[in-house]
Symmetry: C2
Subunit: 362 residues, 2 copies
């Protein structure tokens, strides 16, 4: 990029140089986006071939020839990956092709941060192929990318127990990473109001929340509602009743009565209209004095940009692959749904866990 | 992210706040990378659904409901795309779910910059599905991602004339964008030394450089060498001879004698060993006083980060999809190949076009 500035004013030239550098940084960011599917695979392979791990204990850096030998890669493959790593900032070098490469702070996050790792595994094993179905999914309102996972299910929840081992492992790790982090804090908060009593776990998934409740409160009785595939993954233990239930069937009432109707990350799995129906049925299932309790990850409640990016990007998974009609929501979306279901917010606690908000409605 | 700092020193607190903000920015960048295949599709659809274009003339911004109507999308699809656009910085908003969205500078680049557009089209139509083959490609040294384009060709060059119309169009646009920008400047430089004489165009591709030479120099005679599929795309015109030729057949000499043996973006299409063989045969084809002329995009010669990112990322295409053994090279790589072929650099001109270097060897 030649400098065509003709002014003698060095301050003005300096301003131009800064503007040019900032414009170049934006252009570079646009190119990283334009090549994103390729760069994602390079990042994953820099991690999974051992290249990043080899660099973590070598602050002075290592040459491509050394890295190739220690990771069992061809020199060509090593250089292709390392040079892509320069493009995305996972490694840095002195700019010579054979000089030492060093790990950067982002490289260290990709290697060691458990959230980044769970997100990347989930996107590779569950979303990368299906991402190509996003256009059709948004046009037709159904999860067109789900075909890439090998089945013809209406939603990923119907197909969960049939996924490949890698896809299932990465899905569960991603799901549990987000929900587990907040469960204990949420139960502590609920127990401060007294015993849990009779608790209905709407969308009980694999039963992790239910089991924690049983362990923390010796008198609680838990009922879970979820699709048969999820119910099949729940353990059979005393004080836990698991009921196969399609929440999309608006005509089917919830069992009752319950002191707490609990929903963890249910909002992000259903459309607005479905959510209103679920909340109305939840209200009808309450015993006198009972409460509807929602644990959710609202993108507007995040104080970190990293959490906001993860949530807004996860909506693309819900649209293309999970069900074609839900997303990570804004807190105002749930507030509107709750008002339509005639529920009033009585308490709100945040942050809980990685990025959660606990809301109690009556 | 709660602030656990207990110090009363406000300067130290300020430092911590800056460090935390910088750490958060790095984490956010890592998450953008972790969700890259999904975010790429969102960026492309923000462009191709007309959402970005609708915002370009609305500096005060437009609400999702207005955008949905004007682009013929559901409100759900509109919001999923706009919120993903927040995550990658293509749009900005006041943070409310129904408030106005505005285009950012990166959004404008994605919409209007011809290089970003050509890169994104190329990556979607040619690379996105095949990117999943990168791991196998790097392990086995063959373009395993090429299968995703629907054929069983040894390289993409063999399959070019059989690609889908979209893939072929995007491949040619990407290829021509980079090479066309430098051709006229390179010919001007060569003509300053006198008429071109007899010119051998090694890897003549679709004949664009040959035709420009014929138009600029009424006495030049051009011979092109390339695979039969490429030769078939070249026009039949006077002073142009097109010879089907597999450059990988090291035993087959080039025709001779020539005053100029020309190679534009040949280096990036062949492995080091193949390149040495090509350069040796090029030297043997020279008439007395003849020159080997190389036009290439070296990643270390770039003054802009955007160009460097594009080139380093393009190597992943060569590895996963094009041929499994070439890449965008460092200038030192070609210098080493040239030395092995007993060629001496006599002139070097840069930058030419978007990102090229012209090198003349004897």
């Amino acid at each position: 990029m030649a400098d065509h500035a003709s002014s003698d004013d060095s301050s003005s030239n300096a301003h131009r140089a800064v503007a040019r550098s900032s414009a170049d940084a934006l252009r570079a960011e646009a190119q990283r986006l334009a090549f994103a599917p390729l760069l994602f695979q390079a990042a994953r392979l820099l991690r999974d071939t051992g290249l990043l791990a080899a660099l973590v204990d070598a602050p002075a850096g290592l040459a491509p020839t050394v890295l190739a030998t220690s990771c069992g890669l061809s020199l060509y493959a090593t250089r292709v990956l390392l040079e892509a790593g320069l493009a995305i900032g996972l490694v840095e070098s002195d700019g010579t092709p054979d000089g030492a490469y060093r790990l950067t702070r982002i490289g260290r996050l990709v290697l060691r941060d458990p959230i980044t790792r769970a997100n990347m595994d989930f996107v590779h094993d569950v979303c990368a192929a299906g991402a190509l179905g996003l256009e059709e999914a948004l046009r037709d309102g159904r999860p067109a990318g789900l075909r890439a996972l090998g089945g013809d299910w209406p939603t990923i929840y119907d197909g969960l127990s049939s996924l490949s081992p890698a896809a299932r492992r990465s899905w569960l790790a991603f799901d549990h990473l987000y929900s587990d982090s907040a469960f204990d804090a949420a139960i502590t908060h609920l127990l401060a109001r007294g015993p849990l009593g009779r608790l209905l776990d709407v969308g009980g998934n694999t039963g992790r929340f239910a089991l924690r409740c049983l362990a923390r409160d010796p008198s609680v009785r838990v009922t879970t509602l979820d699709l048969p595939g999820q119910i099949a993954m729940q353990p059979r233990v005393p004080r836990l009743e698991s009921i196969p239930f399609d929440l999309l069937d608006h005509a089917r009432p919830f069992p009752d009565p319950f002191d707490i109707v609990w929903m963890s990350q249910v909002v992000s799995c259903f459309s607005d209209d479905d959510m209103v129906s679920i909340l109305r049925r939840a209200r009808s299932a309450l015993a006198p004095g009972g409460r509807v309790v929602v644990l959710e990850t609202y993108w507007d409640h995040q104080t970190s940009a990293a959490a906001r990016v993860s949530l807004q990007a996860s909506s693309l998974y819900f649209a293309a692959i999970a069900n074609g009609r839900s997303k990570m929501v804004h807190s105002a979306d749930l507030a509107r749904d709750a008002a339509r279901a005639v529920l009033s917010l009585v308490d709100e606690v945040r942050p809980l866990g990685i990025s959660h908000t606990l809301q109690i409605f009556r």
